[in-house]
Point group: C2
Chain length 462, copies 2
């Protein structure tokens, strides 16, 4: 069974890892501390060693060495996760995949690309630029694609292009015993046995370490319009987004930001958006189609007492516009110095979204903590960003209570406690509330593939 290693055992393991990756293994404090926290609110926990492989073969050798030493293994990408998904709760070896940055093959004629796990979203899209194709999944942070696969990330754009579930076509994974497995071949579809790709996507490193990912890529749309639409009431904004989805409009992104969030963004960006409930939208397609969809949206917007505050077609203007949305976390964090942000992540059926979001706002209004809300409302998914002073335990406690209350609200509406951030360390109890009969099945799969529980222990399962 996995256990905390003694000093002597660690030193021995370090020597054997050095035999694999040379000087790319360390027990230096600063490197360990760099890998001790993600962008969430969880307390820091540092790994004992950090190893930085450059290819799948090295990962497999590291895992074998750790398995031989009964040492816990925690994979690391860009450190942008929010639920402690990549924190070494019991120490062990952090396998930092951030130097695995090779784009292994681009097959634009088949709309697919294969990358090493450490390639980041922006690097990939830069690499794809000459092909006229792009990878649409955009969680905001410039995460690694391996990390995005492991947490089943999504973000803006999912309403049109799906999540990592829909866009990872296959992966190479290192299992708990060091075996290397390729989960699928390159056919556009397959009925060849169990869907191991889908099993690995969202498993947060608890079943294996994803070292290479094959992704679906898409033609850059001929024409894109981004729109900002402002409302007086939260309910109107949310209902306009629900109508947009329910009327079947082909929208690529539809994001809600509440008035406090717009205020935070104005401060952070030195911008002057109306500080009111706001929708950011984007339509992709051929020009005629985009214009037709935009006209339909204008009707929906007017019917819900909204007004178009800005629209943009050129890439530069659109980037400026979306930068506001992308900076939501940093803008909220900057509202008060030295705060951490706890971000909730509920997702409910679109038909329940207004009920859920208004109720969540009530919960937040009854709290002493400052907060903002933003959400991928086309998917029924939204986040409250709650500011906590990490030095005040009562803040953390209050924020966690809000977090759990909102998650239970979503579950009561047949939704989920996590739309896209994953379970990590913080939501294991909530997962059991959400999928009571399914959790033992997950545990059986985990026990089958990682009988000694060395792969990212303390995550997802009790």
């Amino acid at each position: 069974m996995v256990h905390s290693l003694s000093k002597a055992e660690l030193s021995e393991l370090k020597t054997s890892l050095a035999g694999i990756v040379g000087d790319r293994v360390t027990d230096g404090l600063s490197v360990r501390q760099h890998h001790a926290h993600d962008e969430g609110y969880h307390a820091a926990c540092a790994p004992d060693l950090v190893a930085t492989p450059r290819n799948t073969g090295e990962v497999a050798q590291i895992v074998s060495a750790c398995a031989a030493a009964d040492c816990a293994i925690v994979p690391w990408g860009a450190g942008t996760s929010l639920e402690g998904n990549a924190l070494a709760v019991n120490g062990g070896v952090c396998i930092d995949l951030s130097q695995m940055t090779e784009i292994l093959s681009m097959r634009p004629e088949d709309f697919r690309v294969t990358v090493q796990a450490g390639v980041r979203r922006i690097q990939l899209n830069t690499g794809l630029r000459s092909t006229g194709l792009f990878f649409p999944i955009d969680p905001g942070a410039d995460a690694t694609l391996g990390g995005m696969a492991a947490t089943r990330a999504s973000g803006t754009n999912a309403v049109r292009y799906g999540t990592m579930r829909d866009n990872v076509l296959g992966c190479t994974v290192v299992l708990a015993d060091g075996r290397i497995v390729r989960t699928a071949r390159s056919a556009p579809k397959s009925a060849a046995g169990y869907d191991l790709t889908a099993l690995l996507v969202g498993s947060e490193g608890t079943l294996g370490i994803i070292t290479e990912v094959t992704l679906r890529i898409y033609p850059v749309p001929d024409h894109t319009i981004a729109v900002v639409c402002v409302f007086d009431e939260v309910g109107d904004a949310v209902k306009a987004s629900m109508a947009t989805i329910q009327y079947g409009l082909d929208v690529a992104r539809i994001e809600f930001l509440d008035a406090p969030m717009m205020g935070a963004i104005n401060r952070f960006e030195r911008a002057a958006y109306p500080e009111a409930p706001t929708l950011f939208l984007e339509f992709h397609g051929m020009e005629s189609q985009v214009k037709e969809q935009f006209a339909l949206f204008e009707d929906i917007c007017a019917a819900h007492r909204g007004r178009i505050a800005a629209s943009a077609s050129s890439p530069e203007e659109r980037s400026a516009l979306w930068r506001a949305r992308h900076n939501a976390l940093y803008a909220t964090r900057a509202l008060v110095p030295n705060r951490r942000v706890l971000i909730t992540d509920v997702c409910v059926p679109v038909s329940r979204l207004a009920d859920c979001l208004l109720k969540a706002r009530e919960y937040l209004d009854g709290s002493s903590l400052r907060s903002t809300i933003a959400g991928h409302v086309g998917d029924g998914n939204f986040h409250a960003f709650i500011l906590v002073d990490p030095e005040r335990p009562q803040d953390v406690e209050e924020a966690e209570a809000l977090h759990h209350r909102m998650a239970r609200l979503a579950i009561s509406m047949d939704g989920t406690c996590t739309g896209e951030h994953g379970v990590g360390m913080g939501k294991r109890d909530l997962l059991r509330e959400e999928l009571a009969d399914a959790v033992p099945v997950m545990a059986a799969v985990k026990a089958a593939l990682d009988p000694r529980n060395i792969m990212n222990p303390g995550k997802i399962l009790p």
Copy 2:
């Protein structure tokens, strides 16, 4: 361990099943024979008992009783599978889900519907008619939705709407010990633990019996155009289909039928299509968009020396047109009396499709058996329909050799031996060739969830 039951044991089991489903359990020969063969070429194998539950609770009780008796369990839907996926190779109890035909809930505002596993595709779409929504996955046969989920079916339309992998949002499943598990809640997306839905979809009843399925449904497109396009050469037709996909045209279906298939269809339907390589296509969307896409396709068609032979917009004309494609299997079977049809099912990257299909045609031309070809070429997936005289073992042997040769060809092109029919009993060896390192992982998952191997034994895994 699962074993063949003695007469006394069977009689005892029948009595206990009668305690659950009353007279809906039988060992009558005609019912057993009805469940002894699907629409494929495999030799008949009858179950010992057939039980016909009406709800998930009854399925769970049947499974518990079978587990207590160490008796194999084989789920049955409409009997339209092609790889012996639902045949009782070692006898045991066939659980016939065809009377579980209730549409449990329709939530058009969330684009989802939940049905019992025995609901068939056409029944579902009839039930949805008043909502303006439809379920697009169409494997040709009027299969049950439980069976389609269990085999990860697709068919025409997958090029736009995806396969069952993309359209099953959750399911209720009975596991090997009789436990009932719901795999997901109703949020449009989720990062809540392992994706058990995806693990079950395509598991062919070997991990559990899917008793209820929640499906994504879509707005009926405002406008639809179906087109028939004829070519002189197979290569031109296939390359036109590849160009259609690679230029990013938003085509909903794109089907290839070769000249022998068009001849078979003409005979079967008393139609007068040109007996030449043919593409059937369909575009869905708003009128302007559909017309724009169709115009682009006309250019591609002309560039590949094709000509538009027919087009249709009204539902009646389109149905007449697609009936030809849907009857491909029956039309081929009718070419010679008393023949069975072995259908291959390879799928390759679209960029390899012309190479693969032309090579496959060469293999077929070198054989003494008659054959036709049809395929979902937008997905890189095609089928050869090979006529065999079931009385002549050398026919079956030759067809199987062709089948394996084509599958190996696809695997050599980084494709799959099964795009949509599943592994069943016939492709277990091919699966090992295709995904050598993944098969032991599948076996470990299987052993974890069905340690006594009572769930549809003899399928998928060695």
